[in-house]
């Protein structure tokens, strides 16, 4: 009874379904997993399974000033994006939560646009815009663009958590002498902090992994790691990329874990 996926179907059908499902999961996991052992291969050529192991490619990665500079740029931009998107997004979510339905609906559509519009169009348009004010290839430009792309994630997360939050507490706090900002900071924010943190992680990862816009507007000294990787992949397959990819996978996994943990805590505390 426990494994009755298809009520009434034969055991063979049930097993077939399980095998099929497992294969699809395997398909999903395989590429992500394969990169990791690849990064420890000693060989210049992409071979699998690796015949000899070494940390050669990690040395290449951490030893290359170009790669390190790109890594630094990406991390800096990601952190700055998070620092900008999280407060802006949280305040926006709060404002949207307290406003009338009509305004909220309009804002929700607006806020979804960065996610819906194909990133190539954003990239091309932003490139042109930045050319006018001459902030192409700058950290500022990247941060502004990435913040706009990350905001929807922060806003959706925080807004959803506010919908489950009992605003009467804020009203109680205000009746006791706290102004609206004070009530928000001392009573509401502590209780939605997990969703704010989740939003922050989402913003971080969105910026770190962003390829298309960065390809257009980052460059020179301020090239992001994604831009360098993209160009490298186009030209020739450099095994250093396996090492870089593994590092990115580790970062993503940590972020995912953080989101799961904080996301779960967030649901508990409301």
């Amino acid at each position: 009874m426990a494994n009755q996926y298809l009520p009434g179907a034969s055991p063979w059908t049930q097993r077939l379904l399980a095998i099929y499902g497992a294969l699809v999961l395997f398909f999903l996991m395989l590429p992500t997993v394969i990169v990791i052992p690849m990064s420890f291969s000693d060989s210049q050529y992409l071979e699998f399974p690796p015949t000899s192991w070494s940390l050669r490619w990690y040395r290449e990665y951490f030893g290359s000033s170009a790669w390190m500079s790109a890594t630094w740029t990406s991390l800096l931009v990601a952190v700055l994006t998070t620092l900008m998107a999280t407060p802006l997004g949280t305040l926006a979510a709060y404002g949207m939560h307290c406003t009338s339905d009509r305004v909220r609906n309009a804002l929700q559509i607006l806020v979804l646009m960065p996610v819906v519009v194909p990133s190539i169009l954003v990239a091309v348009g932003v490139f042109h815009l930045y050319a006018i004010v001459d902030i192409n290839y700058s950290i500022t430009g990247l941060v502004l663009a990435h913040t706009a792309l990350a905001l929807p994630f922060v806003i959706i997360t925080v807004l959803s958590s506010l919908n489950n939050y009992d605003m009467t507490q804020e009203i109680a706090a205000r009746s006791m002498g706290a102004s609206r900002p004070k009530a928000f900071l001392s009573i509401t924010l502590p209780q939605i902090r997990f969703s704010v943190l989740t939003g922050a992680f989402l913003a971080f990862i969105t910026s770190l992994d962003e390829v298309v816009v960065a390809k257009f507007i980052s460059g020179g000294e301020n090239a992001t790691i994604t831009r360098r990787m993209f160009n490298a992949l186009r030209d020739q397959i450099d095994p250093t990329i396996a090492a870089i990819s593994t590092c990115l996978i580790v970062v993503s996994t940590l972020a995912l874990a953080a989101v799961q943990i904080f996301g779960a805590r967030g649901k508990e505390s409301t």
Binding site: L6, L91, I120, G125, L129, V211, S252, L256
Partner: protein, 294 residues
């Protein structure tokens, strides 16, 4: 009890206060809204207006006319074909997976879900690179097939259409599975069991009871995957070996190689209109504001 102006005490001041408060709330969203308007809307607006100007800067539909040329028509056709194939494959792979997961006990499902979430969270570039590793001439798949003796010489699996489609399916699959899983979870197994109990065959019960109820989630996933495939850039650019020119790649090359902003903008507008139309459809059917409520 007349509500004439005589008894409308303080009405003006109260009205002012009311508007002030509303303005304050909108003001809180202003920085975020402004940023999105400047970074996303303004460029799009500019792009759209550019599409209606010819090389001299005068109003014309020349750019759109050029879209009827073979090169661009091909881009549209290819884009639709690929997007449709990717979507179809995602459904083929994703529907049974989502179904299987939804019938498992919550704990097990959560654990297995990691296999969907982890790739979902991994950067697109990393996954695309991984597919290059797998599909290369001396990549994992070829080497395995060679060593098993299935083939004599390595197959050309990368830098072509097949690779692009495989890569895209891999990226898009979680976008189909996640909403579909959520919908399926809410369908009670008892309904199908009851149907079987009443005499229908398991297959019949599945098709007539379960599938219709899963359609909303399926529809959402399908439209989402399709929209994303239409505008997708990274994976086909890298896995296609330069031969795959979907709309996104075509726009990029039109600008970076040919500096033909006019044509690129017209393509861009066409792509935008398609994407927005599909989103509007999705909103019509589901109400996207549901995204904001858990």
């Amino acid at each position: 009890m007349s509500a004439g102006t005589a008894s409308a005490i303080n009405a003006d001041e109260l009205a002012r206060g009311h508007w002030r408060e509303r303005a304050q709330f909108i003001g809180l969203s202003l920085p975020a809204t402004l940023l999105i308007l400047i970074v996303v809307f303004l460029p799009l607006f500019w792009l759209s207006s550019l599409s209606f100007l010819d090389r001299v800067g005068e109003l014309s539909s020349e750019n759109y006319q050029r879209l009827t040329g073979d090169l661009y028509v091909e881009a549209f056709v290819v884009t639709f074909q690929i997007s449709a194939s990717v979507t179809a494959l995602c459904v083929l792979l994703g529907y049974p997976l989502a179904y299987w997961l939804s019938r498992k006990p919550q704990q097990t499902a959560n654990l297995l879900m990691i296999c969907v979430l982890l790739p979902f969270w991994t950067a697109v570039l990393v996954r695309t690179y991984a597919w290059l590793v797998l599909l290369q001439r001396n990549g994992l798949i070829n080497n395995t097939l060679l060593s098993l003796g299935v083939i004599d010489a390595p197959l050309q699996l990368a830098h072509n259409l097949t690779a692009s489609i495989i890569g895209m399916v891999h990226i898009m699959l979680p976008f189909l599975v996640l909403p579909l899983y959520a919908t399926m979870k809410s369908i009670d197994s008892d309904l199908v069991r009851a149907s079987v109990g009443l005499g229908s065959s398991p297959t019949e019960a599945f098709w007539r009871i379960f599938v219709p109820m899963s359609l909303p989630g399926l529809f959402a996933g399908v439209v989402l995957v399709f929209i994303m495939s239409l505008g997708f850039y990274v994976t086909p650019a890298l896995l296609g070996g330069g031969r795959i020119q979907m709309l996104a790649q075509r726009i990029e090359s039109t600008i970076t190689i040919f500096s033909n902003w006019g044509a690129a903008s017209a393509l861009g507008v066409a792509l935008l209109v398609m994407a927005l139309a599909l989103v509007a459809l999705l909103h019509r059917v589901f109400g996207l504001d549901k995204l904001f409520v858990r």
